[in-house]
Subunit: 156 residues, 2 copies
Amino acid sequence: MAFYPPSQAGTVALTASPKTSQVSVPHRRTRRDHASETAEDYVEAIAQIVNERSTCRVVDLAGHFAVSHVTVSRILSRLESLGLVETQRYQPVKLTRQGLKLASQSKERHDTVYEFLIALGVSPKTAAIDTEGIEHHVSPETLRRLRAFTRRRGQA
Amino acid sequence: MAFYPPSQAGTVALTASPKTSQVSVPHRRTRRDHASETAEDYVEAIAQIVNERSTCRVVDLAGHFAVSHVTVSRILSRLESLGLVETQRYQPVKLTRQGLKLASQSKERHDTVYEFLIALGVSPKTAAIDTEGIEHHVSPETLRRLRAFTRRRGQA
DNA sequence: AACCAATTGTAGCATTAGCTACATTTTAAT
DNA sequence: ATTAAAATGTAGCTAATGCTACAATTGGTT
């Protein structure tokens, strides 16, 4: 159940550090993974929404993830403390430079997985759904294999 | 981010129902998914450990998931309330009939993904890791495609 | 039988993410 | 300018999964 951040350069700590940790233990395994996936999903969604409607509001994200606006705003707080987004009360959400970078890396990996599934013959609808779940768990090595396969298929 | 239970027949509710829900709302999206993945990971691990060492103890699972025994025992409580395992204080863990069924379905899907990655040319080590993360997010449709690909590769 | 080590359980805390209900602010319409 | 609706925020709850520290049980050795 490994979690693969979309790249290695300029990596951010995607979760809060424990309040009282004497030795900086590699605690929080799965929990950290889920939190990081959420971070990626959110920056990716924000980038997409900004692209489509020029601004992204809490409401848009709530709709996008089918979740209450409260959940969104709490998650945004966390992302802000991670330096991924900038927020101002009652104002649209903006990605920081770091957030933008993470979003574009996430999107690239997302697209790679999606196009692979399509090349494999999966229907667009199913491919879209499965990609959402799979993308965070594909290693760089596997990602290269997926790209190679898609390339071959595209040519054939 | 869809979660796919490994089959449709004899499906179990893999999470606790909300304490006070008036209409049985489809609440808890991602949360439910994660909890269900955990259930599958655990029954699969229990089946595997029983296979290797004849019995499965809390300690074995703690080692397997690199997690404290406390976390394991709390999760086992949940699984017991779901009817997937049977526990007795200070005794080894046993799978119920339902648990066994879920475990074998999970294993089958797990193996399908793993063999696919191998057929694609991914190294065994990476394939093992990636499979852990991917398996819960592969739809039946995609699963069929993966099998077809592995078959073709196996023959060629 | 007594004892010690390994195993398991309990208590209590933190983090993340879900919710409803209610308060506040912005924005658009009249 | 007022007002009403839409958007956000806050308070406070639940569930799931991490943890440490300490208590209890089991089982094997002596």
